[in-house]
C-alpha cells in the first residue's frame, strides 16, 4: 500500500521511455525490446537477487505439496506449540500444525493474491488509461478526473471500502486490493498513451486507415507495456502487503487458511509462549515483498537509465 510514490516515480520515468528514435509499432518490436530490457534489468544486482527470490517463491508455491512435510491444516502433525526443531523447522502452532508446511502452502495464496489483484488493476487500469488517452475529449476528461479522485485516496481506504461492501474473505480482499490500485495503472497507461499517440508511427497507421481497435491493440498497447511491467512488478509487492494487512485485520483470509497475514494475526495470542508462530509468516511476507520490490526497481532502472548511478 505504501509503494504508491515509488510507482509515481516509475511513472515519471516511464514517460520518457521509448525516447530513442521513432518507436515502431507492433508486437514483434515489443518482443525485441523486451529482450533488451531483460538483459539490461538483469545487469542490476538487486534485480538479480529479486529474480532469484521470485523464482524460488514461484517454485515453492508450485511444488508446495512435495516440499511441505505435512498438509497445511493437519492438526496434531506434532505436539502443540513445539519449538522449532529438525522435524518442524519453524515449530508448530496451538493445534500442532507444522508452521513450515503452512508457510510453504501460504506461498500459493500469496502468488494468487499477486496474480489476481494485479490482474484486475492491470486490466482495468490499462484499458481505462488507453481509452482515455486514445479517445480524448470528454471521455478523456471524465475518465481521468475520476481516476484522479480515486488516486487521491490511499489504497487502504479504497480496499477497506470495497471489503466493507463485499464482506471479508480472501477472494474479496484480492478484488478490493485490485480495485484500489487501478488508478496507478490507469495513470501510467494514460501518460504513455499520450506520448505514443503523438509519434510518427501512429500517425502513419492512422493515415493508412487503421480502425480504432487495430490502432489501440496493435499499435498503442504493445508500446505502453514496458512501463506497465514496472508498475505491475512493484504492484505485486504492494498487493501482497495490502492483502496480508487485510487478512491480519480479519478482513481477508479466514482460518484455517495458511495465508501469512492471517497466520500472523492468529499467532500473536501466543507470542509469549511461541513467538515463532508469528515471526516466520512475517519474514515470508517481507521476503516476498522485497523480492518484487528489488525486481521492479531493477526493471525500472533498465527502462529509465537516468536513475542509474
Amino acid at each position: 500500500m505504501q509503494n504508491r510514490l515509488e510507482k509515481a516515480i516509475a511513472l515519471a520515468g516511464a514517460a520518457h521511455t521509448p525516447a530513442a528514435g521513432v518507436a515502431p509499432s507492433g508486437w514483434a518490436v515489443l518482443l525485441r525490446r523486451m529482450g533488451r530490457f531483460w538483459r539490461s534489468a538483469m545487469s542490476n544486482r538487486g534485480a538479480r537477487v529479486g529474480m532469484v527470490l521470485v523464482t524460488v517463491l514461484v517454485l515453492v508455491a508450485f511444488f508446495a505439496p512435495w516440499i511441505a512435510p505435512y498438509p497445511p491444516d493437519e492438526m496434531g502433525a506434532g505436539m502443540s506449540l513445539l519449538t522449532p526443531e529438525m522435524a518442524y523447522p519453524f515449530g508448530t502452532d496451538e493445534f500442532g500444525r507444522d508452521i513450515f508446511s503452512r508457510v510453504i502452502w501460504g506461498a500459493r495464496l500469496t502468488i494468487q493474491v499477486g496474480v489476481i489483484a494485479v490482474g484486475i488493476s492491470l486490466t482495468v487500469g490499462t484499458l481505462t488509461g488507453l481509452v482515455a488517452g486514445y479517445a480524448g475529449g470528454w471521455t478523456e476528461r471524465i475518465l481521468m478526473r475520476l481516476v484522479d479522485v480515486v488516486f487521491s485516496f490511499t489504497e487502504t481506504l479504497i480496499a477497506l471500502a470495497a471489503v466493507a461492501v463485499l464482506g471479508p474473505s480472501l477472494s474479496n480482499a484480492m478484488i478490493a486490493v485490485g480495485i484500489a490500485a487501478i488508478p496507478f495503472y490507469a495513470r501510467v497507461a494514460y501518460s504513455v498513451t499520450l506520448v505514443e499517440r503523438n509519434r510518427a508511427y501512429f500517425d502513419a497507421a492512422y493515415v493508412q486507415g487503421a480502425g480504432h481497435l487495430r490502432l489501440i491493440f496493435l499499435h498503442l498497447l504493445p508500446n505502453i507495456i514496458p512501463p506497465l511491467i514496472v508498475v505491475a512488478t512493484l504492484g505485486v509487492s504492494s498487493a501482497v502487503l495490502a492483502a496480508a494487512g487485510l487478512s491480519f485485520l480479519g478482513l481477508g483470509a479466514q482460518p484455517p487458511s495458511p495465508e501469512w497475514g492471517a497466520m500472523l494475526s492468529a499467532g500473536r495470542d501466543y507470542f509469549n509462549q511461541a513467538p515463532w508462530i508469528m515471526i516466520y509468516p512475517g519474514v515470508a511476507i517481507m521476503i516476498t515483498v522485497l523480492a518484487f520490490n528489488l525486481l521492479g526497481d531493477g526493471i525500472r532502472e533498465a527502462l529509465d537509465p537516468r536513475q542509474t548511478v
Binding site: S80, F95, P255, P256, D269, N272
Partner: protein, 512 residues
C-alpha cells in the same frame, strides 16, 4: 463549533488518560468498548456489564440465581399472572439527588415499550398492556397474557431502572446516564474508557455482595485495550487491577501468586451448533445428526479451552431451571464417526462426494479455534466445512438470511445465547423463531405450554419434552458453557472481587 470544543476536550482527556494507576481507582481493562450507556439501545455483554454498575433493576438475583428484592422491596403476582405489583424501597436517590420513585419506573417502562424507537429487547418484557402508578412507591404492570419469565426479567440489566431526570438531557446514553447503582457515571471517552465514580449514597438492597453501603474504591474505570498481551502486561506491572485475560494465558496467570483468576459459574451462556434447516442438506435430520456424531466435543473443548469451560448436554445451560445433563445424554448424539459416515452415506455423501458446508461463528474468545477443531473432525467423515468468522450482529443477520435461502451450500454456525430462564427456548425455536430456523408444530405446542405453566414440576416436565425434540432432531447441538466474557484476572492488590450469577461482576467490595 460545538463539536470542535468537545473534540479538543476529548483529545485532552485522551492524552491525560495515560497516567499511572492511582490508589482508589479500579481499572478494568476489556477487549472492547460499550455501545451505549442506554440499556434500550444496545445488547452487547460489554455494555451490560457497565450498565450493571450504574443502574439497578427492580429485582436482583441471589447466588442461587433466584430473583430477590432490590429497588423493589416486594412484589406480588395476581390475576393468574397478568398483574404484577412492585413496592419500592423508601429513600433511594438517583445520582442527581432526586428521589427514586414510581415515576422513574413508569418513565423507564414507557420508554422501553413505546412505539417510537422502543428498546431493542422490547419483546422480552412480555405483552404489557399498561404500567400503572398506584402511589409514589407502588407500580403495577398489567400483562395481556401471563408470562412466566416476567419476574426474573425484572432482575436483568435490560430492565435497568433509569431516572426520569434523564429526559432532560439531550445526550442520555452517549454523554450522560443517571441511575441509582453503586457507581455514578463521570465520563465516556469513546473507544478509550468509561469512568465511574463511587455513589456515596448507595445502599445495597439486593446485590449478592458483602457490602451494604457504597463501594470501597473511589473510581471504577473500564478501559478498552484490544490487544490481549498488553492487558497482561498492564496487570503484571500493576497499571491495571482487573483484566479480561487471554485464554492462552489463563494457566500461567493461575500459577501467578500476584493474580487471582475468576471463572464465572452459572453464566447461563450456552454455546451450540444450529443449522440452516430449510434447504438441503440440513433439512434432513440425518445430516444434522451426522454432524453431531462426527464431532468429538470433549476433545475440542480440551484442546481449545482446557478446563475453563464445561461440556454441556442440554439446550439450556447449567444453573438455569430445567438443566439436567443425565436426562439430556439420553437423547443427544455421542461421538461416533462411523455412525456419522453411515448417516451421510444414506444421504448419498461419501469420500467421493464430500458434503460441502459453511461453518460460521462470531469473533473472539478463541471461537475461531473451536471452529478449526470442528472443521478438522468433520473432515474425517468427509464433510468439508468452510469457516467464516464475523461480528455477532452480522452473524445474527446471516443466520436468518441462510434460513430464508432456498439455494446454496449447507450452513451451520456456533452460536451462543444466555438467559436466566428456559423461556429462551421459546425465543429461539417457537415459530417463527429468532432465526426463522428449526421448528416443529409439536415443539411450538410444547413451548406455548411452557410459557403459561407456572408450577415448577410441571414446567420442568415440559422443558424436558422440548429438550428431547431439540436433541433428537439435532435442531440445537449443545457443546459448552460459558462462551464469552467469563474470565476475569484480578490483581492480588485489589481483593474483594466477586462474580454474581449470570456473569455479573461486582466491584463494590474491592479495596484498592
Amino acid at each position: 463549533m460545538k463539536y470542535w470544543g468537545k473534540t479538543a476536550l476529548a483529545a485532552a482527556l485522551a492524552i491525560a488518560a495515560g497516567g499511572p494507576a492511582i490508589a482508589g481507582d479500579i481499572i478494568w481493562a476489556r477487549d472492547g468498548d460499550i455501545d451505549s450507556l442506554d440499556p434500550h439501545r444496545a445488547t452487547s455483554t460489554l455494555s451490560r456489564q457497565v450498565w450493571y454498575q450504574i443502574y439497578d433493576s427492580l429485582l436482583e438475583f441471589d447466588d442461587s440465581g433466584a430473583p430477590v428484592p432490590n429497588l423493589a422491596k416486594s412484589w406480588e403476582i395476581a390475576q393468574d399472572g397478568t398483574l404484577v405489583t412492585f413496592v419500592l424501597n423508601e429513600g433511594i436517590t438517583c445520582h442527581d439527588g432526586t428521589p427514586f420513585n414510581a415515576d422513574d419506573v413508569i418513565w423507564t417502562a414507557e420508554r422501553a415499550l413505546g412505539e417510537d424507537n422502543p428498546s431493542l429487547t422490547k419483546s422480552s418484557w412480555g405483552d404489557i398492556g399498561e404500567v400503572e402508578k398506584i402511589d409514589d412507591l407502588t407500580v403495577a404492570f398489567h400483562l395481556a397474557t401471563p408470562f412466566g419469565a416476567f419476574v426474573p426479567f425484572m432482575a436483568d440489566q435490560f430492565t435497568s431502572m433509569l431516572c426520569d431526570s434523564n429526559a432532560a438531557a439531550d445526550d442520555f446514553g452517549t454523554g450522560s446516564a443517571i441511575g441509582t447503582g453503586p457507581w455514578k457515571f463521570a465520563s465516556w471517552t469513546k473507544g478509550a474508557e468509561v469512568v465511574l465514580e463511587k455513589n456515596p449514597d448507595y445502599v445495597n438492597y439486593g446485590r449478592p455482595i458483602d457490602n451494604p453501603g457504597p463501594p470501597l474504591a473511589d473510581r471504577l474505570i473500564m478501559r478498552t485495550m484490544p490487544e490481549a498481551q498488553t492487558r497482561m502486561a498492564g496487570l503484571r506491572t500493576g497499571e491495571l487491577q482487573v483484566i479480561v485475560p487471554p485464554i492462552q494465558e489463563v494457566k500461567s496467570l493461575q500459577d501467578d501468586p500476584g493474580v487471582e483468576v475468576y471463572v464465572a459459574q452459572g453464566t447461563g451462556q450456552n454455546m451450540f451448533l444450529q443449522f440452516a434447516v430449510n434447504r438441503p442438506p440440513f433439512d434432513d435430520k440425518r445430516a444434522r445428526q451426522a454432524v453431531s456424531h462426527a464431532i468429538d466435543k470433549d476433545l475440542a473443548i480440551k484442546v481449545v479451552y482446557g478446563d475453563i469451560v464445561e461440556r454441556q448436554y442440554c439446550p439450556i445451560s447449567k444453573g438455569v431451571f430445567g438443566n439436567d445433563p443425565e436426562f439430556c445424554k439420553q437423547y443427544d448424539q455421542d461421538y461416533d464417526p462411523e455412525k456419522a459416515k453411515a448417516l451421510l452415506a444414506e444421504l448419498g455423501y461419501g469420500p467421493d462426494k464430500p458434503m460441502e458446508v459453511t461453518l460460521a461463528t462470531w469473533t473472539g474468545d478463541s471461537r475461531e479455534r473451536m471452529l478449526q477443531m470442528l472443521q478438522n473432525q468433520l473432515k474425517k467423515v468427509n464433510i468439508v466445512a468452510n469457516i467464516e468468522v464475523m461480528d455477532i450482529g452480522t452473524l445474527n443477520a446471516r443466520d436468518t438470511q441462510e434460513n430464508n435461502k432456498a439455494e446454496g451450500p449447507g450452513y451451520m454456525d456456533l452460536m451462543g445465547w444466555t438467559w436466566f430462564d428456559p423461556d429462551l427456548l421459546y425465543l429461539l425455536w417457537h415459530s417463527p423463531g429468532a432465526y426463522q430456523g428449526f421448528q416443529t408444530p409439536e415443539l411450538d405446542k410444547i413451548l406455548e405450554d411452557m410459557r403459561t405453566t407456572v408450577d415448577p414440576d410441571a414446567r420442568k416436565e415440559i422443558v424436558h419434552a422440548a429438550f428431547k425434540i431439540l436433541l433428537e432432531e439435532a435442531g440445537q447441538v449443545p457443546i459448552y458453557t460459558p462462551g464469552w466474557s467469563w474470565l476475569y484476572a484480578v490483581s492480588a492488590d485489589a481483593p474483594g472481587f466477586k462474580i454474581g450469577p449470570f456473569n455479573r461482576a461486582l466491584f463494590n467490595a474491592i479495596d484498592h
